[in-house]
């Protein structure tokens, strides 16, 4: 009986160690992402998350952050080949989606499409713009209470001419809705996506 107890408790300890290895690596990655000031640092964070994802196989969060930091790196380096960054990000999102489809991943898809659209917005608006819009619609279907959907939607519309249904007035309402949802939003775990509130506040202020 005693032996069994020891074995069982050792098993749990082992699991806890494994768990914490993943958790501490993720926490380290998130720190790295937060501290990244250059595109290179951001890419390094992305590669780190990707390695965690490749090692874990059943977790979508590493790939989620890998894609997110990759997209950020694409924006941070004005000389980056945005098509290549977009392609790589979509690749990472696809790996995450092989594990699970969810609202957060659809939001990332929108970000990747917008990145690619901005290479040549005038001619790419029809294809990549539609792709981005579809992604947000899917995100809304999966979870209408995800505040990041409205943040991203607002951000895009803020930079869209009024003649095409954009403008600050439209965007303002979306930021307000996003912030309203942030009030009650609780991430499923400390590692789950929990970003965007500051950004929504800043953008709302810019709309005033």
């Amino acid at each position: 009986m005693k032996q069994l107890l020891i074995i069982v408790s050792m098993f749990f300890v082992g699991m806890a160690v494994a768990q914490s290895k993943y958790e501490s690596a993720m926490a380290k990655g998130l720190e790295q992402m937060k501290a990244a000031n250059t595109a290179e640092d951001m890419s390094a964070a992305s590669a780190f998350f990707e390695r965690i994802g490749d090692a874990e196989k059943d977790k979508w969060l590493p790939y989620y952050y890998a894609a997110q930091s990759n997209i950020y790196a694409g924006w941070m380096n004005p000389k980056a080949d945005k098509d290549k960054v977009g392609e790589k990000s979509k690749d990472l999102i696809a790996k995450a989606e092989a594990i699970e489809h969810n609202s957060e991943l659809y939001c990332l898809k929108q970000m990747a499409s917008i990145l690619e659209m901005m290479v040549d917005p005038m001619t790419r608006y029809q294809t990549y713009g539609a792709e981005a819009k579809n992604a947000l619609e899917e995100a809304q279907k999966a979870d209408p209470n995800n505040p990041r959907i409205y943040l991203l939607d607002g951000q895009t519309l803020m930079n869209t001419p009024e003649a095409f249904g954009g403008g600050k007035a439209v965007a303002k309402k979306l930021f307000e809705k996003s912030l309203e949802l942030f009030k009650t939003f609780k991430p499923a775990s400390p590692l789950h996506p929990n970003w965007g509130k500051d950004q929504a506040e800043k953008l709302l202020a810019a709309c005033q």
Binding site: A25, E40, S43, A44, A47, F48, E50, R51, I52, D54, A55, D83, K84, E87, K88, D91, V119, D120, M122, T123, R124, Q126, T127, A130
Partner: protein
């Protein structure tokens, strides 16, 4: 005790540090070029690094013993390498092989311009450009005319390419030939195309050296690919003093099918009363046009598309007679045209793809010309050369066709393609009660291989066999082209091909004792592309043989040549907010 603890701690940390082994090295491609951003990872662990802009990487790992290093980079084949981690640092150099992919592989661009949203080397215009180019009035042909190789011909519809006549350019929609792509010719007035640019998602304008899938065009082929299921349902209605129209496009909720209809009526009476026209119109042009379509996505991801359009129009105008300024030519035209196109593309699995196309069109014209005097009354002048220009002409042109193309993917992205087509055309002409009939059973077989040797080298080899019952003759046309990537976004390609075309019906009505006309194309082309800039230069030589001659008798003894250089420069970068393109064509041609 405290000392002991500190010692233990130091020893432990030292142990940790010692336990980490440094792994460093370089990542390059198989030509020795630096690869930055490649990921190196100890399989199954979180340890790894990324290669920098000098190809170097370096990281530390706690892993021990037999391990596997994985090196990955998008667009390259991943490498897995066994290593044994002991206590010594490891130095390792990787060489990645490029993956042959459709996105990266070089494509043959000699003699070919694309409009559409695919990111390909030959793409010079986007779908949006086709509808927004100034002065083109959203007419596909008018936009294509802004590209080098197409001549600026203002008094006749059609694409006149590299010295060839408009009739030497053929149009294809979803693989099948379009018999009457323009509204019927009116002397000295270019007519519009029948098809709206919004119907198409991709256009390939070939100025020569085109694929073996197409034939019967000495100069050029305009290959149009229609859109699949539209994004959303739409209804529209428009009304203006000259235009009345409405349309409906319905997309099923599951986006698996759609249908649509439109009708519009154009009458230029109001416009002509405000803006005086130079030719004197006794019948102001009016047009009825209706079209319908349906599109169904099949279970396996294939697509069935049907499109039909019906048009009826009339006009009549008077022009001064060139032989006698006191007389006028009164020209009247009535045209009805019905066009049908059905296509089915399906993935058959195992690397096989199928494209079936079918079409039926019928075109009817009633055309007359009458010599009139200054009071617009018919006159008989007694001069033979003037009186014989009076005519009444009715024509009918029917075309029924089927075409099948099968694709089989070979290793990598190389593809072999083959198929056949059958066209039955029936042309009838009644000229001043003199009737002529031209029925033709036309068959063609073709085969073509796209070979990708590496990402940097591709070849297209094809041949086409044709037989026409009307001429009772057959021909075999080889086609060959190659492309080589010379650097980032830069490539060179060459093309050669034989092209045959039946003589125009005008001559065949007189006699069918003709052979095919023939053109041989040689093209060399260089393209440098960045996302916002395109530069291309192309040189060509065309040799014509067996052209139709009407003197001293109808024969096939004509010959000729065309040679030239063309430049194209498009730039969206240099001037903020300005997008411009410059086309330059130099042409030297002679036909006899």
């Amino acid at each position: 005790m405290r000392k002991f603890l500190i010692l233990l701690l130091i020893m432990l940390t030292a142990g940790w540090v010692n336990a980490q082994v440094k792994i460093n090295g370089t990542v390059k491609d198989n030509h020795g070029h630096i690869i930055a951003g490649a990921s190196i990872q100890v399989k199954g662990s979180y340890d790894g690094g990324v290669s920098d802009s000098t190809s170097h990487f370096s990281f530390k790992t706690f892993e021990k013993g037999e391990q596997i290093l994985i090196v990955t980079n998008i667009g390259y084949k991943s490498i897995e390498q066994k290593i044994t981690i002991g206590t010594e640092p490891i130095e390792i150099a990787f060489s990645l092989k490029e993956e042959i992919s459709e996105l990266k592989a070089v494509v043959v661009t000699a003699g070919s311009f694309e409009a559409g949203d695919k990111k390909r080397a030959a793409t010079v215009l986007s779908s949006l450009d086709v509808v927004t180019t100034g002065g083109a009035n959203a007419d596909i042909t008018a936009v294509i005319k802004t590209l080098p190789g197409a001549q600026q011909v203002g008094d006749k519809e059609g694409l006149f390419v590299r010295g060839g006549d408009g009739s030497e350019t053929k149009q294809y929609i979803d693989g099948t030939l379009v018999n009457n792509p323009y509204f019927t010719s009116v002397p000295d007035l270019a007519q519009r195309g029948r098809f709206s640019p919004f119907l198409f998602k991709g256009t390939v304008f070939s100025t020569g050296g085109y694929s073996a899938l197409y034939g019967q065009a000495l100069s050029s082929a305009l290959i149009l690919e229609s859109i699949d299921i539209p994004d959303r349902s739409e209804a529209n209605a428009s009304i203006s003093p000259i235009f009345l129209g409405g349309g409906l496009q319905e997309v099923a909720k599951d986006k698996k099918s759609s249908w649509g209809i439109t009708y519009n009526y154009t009458d230029l009476r109001a416009y002509f009363s405000l803006v005086k026209q130079n030719p004197d119109y006794f019948q102001i042009p009016f047009f009825h046009a209706a079209d319908a379509n349906f599109r169904i996505k099949t279970k396996k991801g294939g697509m069935i598309k049907y499109y039909t359009t019906f048009a009826a129009n009339q006009l009549g105008l008077r022009r001064p007679n060139i032989d006698n300024p006191n007389l006028k030519n009164a020209f009247a035209l009535q045209n009805t045209n019905w066009y049908n196109n059905i296509s089915w593309r399906e993935n058959l699995g195992n690397g096989w793809k199928m494209n079936l196309g079918g079409g039926y069109s019928t075109d009817h014209n009633i055309i007359s010309q009458q010599i009139q005097n200054q009071s617009n009354l018919p006159v008989v002048t007694g001069f033979n050369w003037i009186d014989t220009t009076n005519f009444n002409l009715t024509t009918r042109g029917d075309l029924a066709q089927i075409k099948a193309v099968f694709d089989k993917r070979l290793s990598g992205i190389s593809v072999i393609r083959f198929g056949g087509e059958y066209q039955y055309s029936y042309n009838k002409s009644d000229y001043n009660n003199y009737t002529a009939l031209l029925p033709d059973h036309f068959k063609a077989l073709f085969s073509e291989a796209d070979l990708y040797i590496t990402n940097d080298l591709a070849a297209k080899i094809g041949a086409r066999f044709e037989q026409s019952s009307l001429l009772n003759k057959a021909n075999l046309a080889p086609r060959l082209s190659m492309a080589y990537k010379t650097g980032k976004g830069a490539q060179m390609s060459i093309a050669y091909g034989e092209f045959y075309q039946k003589p125009e019906n005008t001559y065949l009505y007189a006699t069918t004792q003709f052979g095919y006309q023939r053109a041989t194309h040689y093209i060399i082309n260089y393209i440098k592309n960045t996302t916002l800039q395109t530069f291309r230069v192309e040189a060509y030589y065309k040799k014509y043989n067996e052209l139709v001659k009407t003197f001293p008798a109808y024969n096939n003894n004509g010959n000729g040549y065309a040679q030239g250089v063309e430049l194209f420069w498009r730039d969206k970068k240099t001037f903020q907010g300005l997008d411009y393109w410059i086309s330059y064509s130099y042409l030297d041609t002679k036909r006899n």
